[in-house]
Symmetry: C2
Subunit: 212 residues, 2 copies
DNA sequence: TCAAAAGTGTTGAAGATACACCCATGG
DNA sequence: CCATGGGTGTATCTTCAACACTTTTGA
């Protein structure tokens, strides 16, 4: 009945330039000094795990009100050289347009394409891979895809998100049919006028299925 | 950076008399004295989470070498009246024929139908529901169903397992077609001669997909 | 001879995939 | 005028759901 150190680590995804990226923080302290690691930190005595994850996201990434979901807990006794640390991993999704607020010091926090990560501290690479796999799986039967978009978006935007996550091109007509007939988006009367040709804007049609 | 108590709790499923059951332990100590709770206990300083879960299953349920998978971590600050305890929940599956060894004292450990649980200690009811949901979901795209069966089984046995988990009857012909054409079982040359009519025995066809 | 579980095909509906062209606009 | 992304329909295939009767055996 020993007390253990408990942390949360968060895999924060976004899509930039059509590619899925993960936010990493350069460590300033030992161990793994100067290595990149996931944002995260210790769980306080009186906060829930999810609250801890949200707080760390706020403090380390300057991000607020994101979609946040528990991923998996990692507790190998050797995973942290300082001693026994159990981490509860979360993943989170933000749209590219949602600005990272103050608190995220550009010199230490940076986005990396999920396919080209630097060497990470601890077992964080494994955690990122686990999270990537999870969102790929959930893409089909939930609406995680939307969480990476701003409130209004075009079907083209949504398709780019799906393509970035699964890592391959999708057929435009099939994609649009699938999305529209599931009735998980609702068309607006507004049109985006930037871009080559005006495009209809959409919005989620209310809260549907975040299953875990 | 405070140290927290970390436990594992295990939802151990089996099928008895065609109904999905969960193993519960009657608590002898406070809090929740005399209430039923999941088998579980504190994670030791130098064992992994999964090792802790396996150890608790051995110590409290007398069960060895079962299918064991992490479920979810629960860390509400108020979930344990004694103080801050984070639990990493697992679920496990055993076949009805696998005997519960010594160590499981019949007076404290008992099987309950998952649909008729007594009032449980802590947030254990929520944990059981979470686990039940998980195996229901995994039934379709993994072979969790097999873990509840002995090494050789008939398709009728397997169908009963599926029916117990989803809680409703399935069409025999559709079920058999689905199973056999996925090639996840391989037919043996042996036939079970007990029962009304001889039935062909099957076995898993090697390790396929335990995805998490 | 009856009760219980084993075994076996077909049809229709729904969903998924493959595939190509014209349009509106900004540069 | 051309490059870019927006928008649209059909044919095919696969997958899933519904559905009923005969056989073997032990009691």
């Amino acid at each position: 009945m020993s007390r253990l150190l408990v942390t949360v680590d968060i895999v924060l995804f976004t899509i930039r330039e059509r590619v899925l990226h993960v936010l990493l923080i350069r460590r300033l302290a030992r161990p793994f000094e100067n290595r990149y690691a996931l944002p995260g930190g210790f769980v306080l005595e009186d906060e829930s795990l999810e609250a801890a994850a949200a707080r760390e996201l706020r403090e380390e990434a300057g991000v607020e009100k994101v979609y946040l979901e528990q991923l998996y807990s990692f507790g190998d006794p050797k995973r942290d050289p300082r001693g026994r640390v159990v981490t509860v991993a979360y993943y989170a999704l933000v749209s590219e347009t949602q600005p990272l607020r103050a608190g995220s010091d550009a010199s230490v926090a940076a986005w990396f394409p999920v396919a080209q990560l630097p060497t990470l501290a601890f077992d964080h690479r494994k955690i990122v891979e686990c999270a990537h796999q999870r969102i790929r799986n959930k893409l089909d039967y939930t609406n995680v895809g939307f969480e990476l978009l701003p409130e209004m978006f075009t079907l083209g935007d949504l398709q780019l998100v799906h393509e970035a996550i699964v890592g391959q091109a999708l057929d435009k007509r099939n994609f649009r049919r699938k999305i529209t007939q599931k009735a998980i988006v609702k068309p607006l009367k507004e049109w985006r006028k930037t871009g080559r040709k005006p495009a209809q804007l959409f919005r989620f049609s209310d809260e549907v299925g975040h299953i875990h």
